[in-house]
Symmetry: C2
DNA sequence: CCTTGACCTTCCAGTTACTGGAAGCATTAC
DNA sequence: GTAATGCTTCCAGTAACTGGAAGGTCAAGG
């Protein structure tokens, strides 16, 4: 069992956010210590890491709730879980393409900066005419 | 020159957001029509597409302002631009790793859903013990 | 024993980045 | 000529934090 500070370190989330996620019922600590401290298990830590990643790619808290729910809802059929997961995977693949595009744009910019004079913006001036 | 609706289509941003970015001075339309409509050129459209991508990967509006500024600030040295760009590129590469990780986790989950009975969560139960 | 510092708690206000809706003017389509 | 669509401003609301105050807890040092 870990206190919120340990959890923050392990998940790379601010304590404020971990507390917030507990408040809104997204990731609830498995218990409280006698002095009222939130106590988290490895399971919650994994949920929080998963949530941090999903959030950082634009999935809303509500969508994170759904994704986390995929693993917990014993009543949901295997087929449903797969359908939702595949839908999200498609979204993630699109995000991967966009992220590579962003990467390439910035790399191109950085590459253009070898000398002392900088060319026009390769992205913006590219189409501006 | 494009009106805000055309811009919304081209950039895949809501008109509300395009207007908001104009209000906060992030991407300012190149002019106004006689009837007061915002008019955008291809250059602004490219800025908006760039911004949408950067925003969707967690760069703040302020950071987008800085990134867009890299291309416009004639006073900034080539060296500075390169340094900032490389810093952002490192961040993006980290995001790429995380996004692949998320992709893999969900793929693993989807793959586990071939039959009718679903296994325990491969991510969450993995470490929970 | 006491205090210093680093934890933790709740609560409440503020921020960022939109987002929805009302009221109204402009243009196109029938 | 009027209905639909698209634009305008303005203002209020929401999502997801984020900062700060006020205070309890606990291990270490004097």
């Amino acid at each position: 069992m870990y206190t919120i500070g340990d959890v923050a370190k392990a998940t790379n989330l601010p304590t404020k956010t971990v507390r917030y996620y507990a408040d809104i019922g997204l990731v609830i600590p498995s218990g409280r210590s006698t002095n009222g401290y939130r106590l988290y298990s490895g399971k919650e830590i994994n949920k929080l890491i998963f949530t941090r990643r999903a959030r950082s790619f634009g999935f809303s808290v509500q969508e994170c709730r759904e994704l986390l729910g995929l693993y917990e809802d014993k009543d949901r059929s295997s087929r449903d879980v797969k359908a939702i997961a595949l839908h999200r995977i498609a979204e993630i693949e699109e995000k991967l393409l966009e992220l590579r595009s962003l990467h390439q744009e910035l790399t191109h910019l950085a590459d253009s900066c070898n000398g002392d004079n900088r060319p026009d913006c390769p992205i913006i001036s590219g189409m501006s005419g």
